[in-house]
Amino acid sequence: MNKIFYGWFVLVAGFFILFVSAGARNGLGFFVVPMTEEFEWSRKTISMAFGIGWFANAITQPFIGRLHDRFGGRIVISISVLIIGISSVLLTFTNSLWFLIIIYGIIMSIASGGASLVTIHAVLARWFHRRRGMAISLATAGASAGSLIIAPFTAYVILLLGWRITWGVLGAMILAVGLPMALMVIRNNPSETGDSPDGDPHPEDNTPSLSSKSNFSGHSVSDSWTDALRSPQIWQLTGAYFVCGITTAIISFHYVPFALDQGFSIATAGLAFGLMNGLNLVGVLSTGFLSDKMSRKSLLASVYAVRALAFVMLILAPSIIGLWSFAIIAGLSWAASAHLTSSITADIYGLKTMGTIVGFATLAHQMGGAISIYLAGLLYDIYGSYDVPFFISATLLIAASVASYLITNPKLPKQPYTQPVKAKLGTGM
């Protein structure tokens, strides 16, 4: 029987870890109403707890990425999944705002960064070289699928069994699915199973040491993440990803109220939002496969340009056409930027500091999201419509598209990826 490349198992594990962890996190909004009703908190109060979570998650992303680069993905992801699962179960016992802030806002939110796109992408980038775009996009699809399936599941179980049991169910799911996947399947790099990236045969005459730069090949391999900060590409990528955060948060938080403002029913708004989530999967997978066959920077630029077009449609097209065309166009481009940003980072800076650099970009993304949620609401209050925030979004997306296109030479390294041969043969499959 032919040996199955172990990287496929790592990919499946990454998919399901993101499926449960991102899925559970994206159903968070459904807890707001039942929890505020039980404790008689104001919406602002509970929003503060969740907002602290958003910031804690954002600010710690580069540090989590650094932990990944130093200790490897397996340990960081496993501990993070364990903490997320236990925290979810503990939230069953929420009895005060401080309990919620400490368990969700701080502990669970920080741990979420360790079982996120940042760490999973960084692990997969080591396992896949020629097919890096496809592999990273497939794992990203796990997060999209989790949001699509687990968020409505969360809503359903809250109405059926109450919010306390729902936290427990989500925690149990994370522990039952994510923890064994992380502990038993994830391996930090192919050398641990005697493999080469993509399952390619070992180069016969090449047995470099683990510290060799060739093991972390990229266009301009960085020994230190601070070196990367001195290059323009990181700022182009991070700036564009900041805009990505702004525009996806506007979609997430303001699309449904926009639809309701236009006079659509909650069912229509929900269906359009659901369609957008479904097409999100299509966009991630198709751009992932394309990204191994064409220039990734051009693809990233196209993704931002397409999303800009979606916002233009929302402003210019009559309401019903605008609503559905936005759902289709924005859905296709919604999450495609995440895996492309990670892949381009790996291509340019190599793998040694990839976790930290992607964590830095993710920090910008999350900050952009937090700022835009507030600003879009403020601009709505001032102008009485979403035209201004949507116009700003479209303009920023065009700028992000140009910045991405101008990234210099983010090609896949032409030399074959080389890997240390620590022949633990038999551990792979």
Partner: protein, 81 residues
């Protein structure tokens, strides 16, 4: 940064967007799921849980069985040598 965030979020975080987990939306989601499956709510919850849990569990079982199979075949190989 964090303290600034606290003040800012407390005052303005939810300036204007949908009620997170809008009760109407929640009810609509539940009604739609009930309509799709057509079973008792607890059965539907069980089906949904299975849809979430079973694929990763099957993947894990496949992974473990392949690993055990490989190890035992390697052991047999070593024994014959």
């Amino acid at each position: 940064m964090m303290s600034l965030g606290f003040v800012w979020l407390d005052e303005n975080f939810q300036a204007h967007h949908s009620e997170p987990g809008d009760p109407t939306l929640l009810q609509w989601i539940k009604a739609t799921i009930d309509h799709l499956f057509g079973f008792e709510p607890l059965v539907v919850a069980g089906i949904l849980t299975s849809l979430i849990i079973v694929p990763p569990m099957l993947s894990l079982v496949l992974f473990l069985s392949l690993r055990i199979g490989r190890r035992s075949s390697k052991f047999r190989q070593d024994s014959t040598e």
